[in-house]
């Protein structure tokens, strides 16, 4: 079995330049068949560029793009077994909703029977909750409705690979959850490979099999969601995905020395200056006297979130930490007030050290 039997999309050392601007640099990425991959990264990091090279709207300046076994660098967009939901929708203004959605099916040869087309269009519109909107013109729709038409127009074709560029960004929470579930079952039922760009981390972590974190045109980490969250490849990923507390430390045999001279026990092999990263939920606070954590500070701020409370805690000479505390609703006195002195403890296995 060759590698391409396993992969639906592959980037091999792909670099894309627009004039002097290098949008993506030396990307290597292999998306397994039928996988749901989320593309995550700050604005302008090259996510859309990657999708556009798969869709066939940009050619790599260097390197090769493969779809299945085929090198597609020179394959025009209309010959690629790929459909895309565009970030800007790109709906056809002179066609109504139904004809927009039917567009892809009408291009297929051999021709699809027209009652088959209207059946599939109806099903797609139902999936995006737009049954009854078929005769509307595009400009008669709200932004969120347009986005769903864009989604329907792509999924109705049941392509081998579906590229989704922030396909749910304009939807309210309820609709978005509905669409997420629909997309997931669609992906599972049809075995379509999904490549989804999103700025919603929850969406990325909850829906995908694999998360690809990008920054400044490079891939920082490509791994399962849990792996990305628990073991970020570098400080950027740690910072970008979820919330992270960082402090500069010096690693010495057996200890980590903090800025204020305090030390934390440490068993790792690293030595020298480093940055320590710790998730808010891996830290615990207790009123001074009731707990005996290695660090002492005072609460500067509290955000009450119902089942959780988030505290900002200032530690002299080290900095400000964000700590989230689970509430069990038994103790009426569990909330710590700003100004109170607290001791801080943490789960030592959750510590990640990165080169400074």
């Amino acid at each position: 079995m060759s590698a391409s039997d396993l992969h639906d999309i592959e980037f091999r050392s792909v670099t894309k330049r627009y004039g002097d601007v290098t949008a993506v640099t030396d990307i290597n990425l292999a998306v397994p068949k039928g996988a749901f991959v989320a593309l995550l990264g700050p604005s302008g990091c090259g996510k859309t560029t990657c999708l556009r090279m798969i869709g066939g709207f940009e050619q790599p300046s260097e390197g090769d793009v493969y779809i299945g076994e085929t090198r597609v660098n020179d394959l025009p967009a209309y010959r690629r077994p790929v459909n895309m939901v565009f970030q800007h929708y790109a709906l056809f203004p002179h066609l109504d909703v139904e004809n927009n959605v039917a567009y892809g099916l009408r291009q297929q040869r051999p021709r699809i029977a027209s009652d088959e087309i209207s059946r599939r269009v109806g099903a797609a519109l139902e999936m995006v909750r737009l049954s009854g909107f078929g005769r509307r013109r595009i400009h008669e729709l709200s932004g969120g409705q347009q986005q769903r038409v864009a989604l329907a127009r792509a999924i109705v074709n049941k392509p081998k690979v579906l590229l989704l560029d922030e396909p749910l960004a304009a939807l309210d929470r309820k609709l978005r959850t509905d669409m997420q579930m629909e997309l997931q079952s669609l992906q599972r039922d049809l075995g379509i490979t999904f490549l989804l760009v999103t700025h919603d981390q929850e969406e990325a972590l909850s829906m995908s099999d694999l998360v690809c974190v990008m920054s400044a045109g490079r891939i920082r980490q490509f791994a399962r969601p849990q792996e990305v969250y628990d073991r970020p490849a570098d400080l950027f990923v740690a910072d970008f995905v979820g919330k992270t507390n960082k402090m500069t430390v010096t690693a010495e045999p057996g200890i980590l020395r903090l800025g204020n001279g305090a030390t934390l026990p440490f068993a790792g092999p690293e030595r020298g200056p480093a940055v320590l990263a710790l998730r808010p939920e891996a830290m615990r606070i207790a009123r001074v006297g009731t707990g005996d954590g290695p660090l002492v500070g005072h609460v500067t701020h509290r955000i009450f979130l119902g089942s959780l409370a988030e505290y900002s805690v200032a530690v002299a000479g080290v900095g400000e930490f964000l700590i989230s505390a689970e509430r069990h609703g038994l103790d009426a006195n569990d909330l710590i007030e700003p100004g109170e002195a607290v001791s801080i403890d943490y789960i030592s296995e959750a510590i990640r050290l990165y080169p400074a």
Binding site: V82, F86, A90
Partner: protein, 288 residues
């Protein structure tokens, strides 16, 4: 004094429309009323107009039927020929031409307007005349080819003279076409040719309609080209009007013809507009 928003809006509208409305009512509506009045009058014995109320002039229209049919046939045919030549040019300029040269190329389209159409049409008399192209054709064994003073010559002159007017509106509508729609079309499996017929062409129809309407309407009143290149044979209504007003001084008859012409033009505009809207729908293209 505070103005309500509605009053302000009305004032702005008045300021915007006012000048052209005033100009048109003085220089277009008034003369047209005069023509209407003339058309139901009688020719004074010494020429010109004398008051009366009769439709006799309209009864006489068939006498100029040839000019009428020439115009009605050659104006739209000329406009369509213009369209066929103009569309690919406009398409190239708007979609294919390198961005750096686009403005230069577009301005080249209007360069011919720097010289009078009269002069340029005169040039064609020499090219098409016996000592021009036919002379050359005779050299290669095609004697006695007549080019000048034929409908073909008139059509050639029409396409030549009106091409820029057709290119411009089509160019504008193609230029503002959202290229991303073509990407979407390709993404959905449409070849470039099909994308053209499914997306580009329908979305450029407003420009096509504008161009065809503009050129057709101007051609309906065309005088110069049929006069110079059509000789006495291919008379347009425009030539008939010149003849009636300036030569035989039959103002009422000329007016009746003019009124008929204007009515036909208005009818054509209305139909063309209807069609354009039907095909292209509203022109809102900006999404997001």
């Amino acid at each position: 004094m505070a103005m309500t928003l509605a009053t302000r809006k009305r004032l702005v509208t008045a300021l915007l429309v006012g000048p052209s409305a005033a100009w048109l009512s003085i220089f277009l509506v008034l003369p047209f009323i005069a023509i209407l009045v003339f058309s139901v009058g009688e020719r004074a014995p010494e020429g010109g107009y004398q008051a009366a109320f009769t439709f006799a002039q309209f009864m006489n229209l068939p006498a100029r039927a040839t000019a009428f049919w020439n115009t009605m046939l050659l104006a739209p045919v000329g406009a369509i020929l213009c369209l066929l030549v103009a569309y690919p040019t406009a398409y190239y300029l708007a979609i294919r031409a390198p961005t750096r040269f686009r403005m230069l190329l577009v301005s080249l389209v209007v360069v011919p307007f720097w010289t009078s159409l009269l002069v340029r049409t005169y040039a064609w008399i020499f090219i098409l005349g016996a000592r021009g192209l036919p002379n050359l054709l005779a050299l290669i064994g095609l004697p006695d080819v007549r080019l000048l003073n034929t409908p073909g010559a008139v059509l050639l002159g029409i396409v030549y003279g009106y091409l820029p007017l057709m290119i411009m509106p089509i160019y504008v509508s193609l230029e503002k076409l959202d290229r991303r729609l073509l990407e979407a079309s390709a993404d959905l499996g449409a070849s470039p040719v099909r994308s053209f017929f499914n997306i580009t062409l329908p979305l450029s129809l407003p420009g096509v309609a504008t161009g065809v309407a503009l050129v057709t309407i101007l051609l309906l009143g065309e005088y110069l080209i049929p006069q110079l290149l059509g000789g006495g044979k291919v008379f347009f209504i425009g030539n008939a009007l010149v003849d009636l007003f300036l030569q035989s001084r039959n103002w009422p008859y000329g007016s009746a013809i003019a009124v008929t012409l204007v009515s036909v033009v208005v009818l054509i505009i209305t139909l063309a507009m209807r069609l354009a809207w039907r095909f292209a729908g509203t022109r809102q293209v900006d999404l997001v």
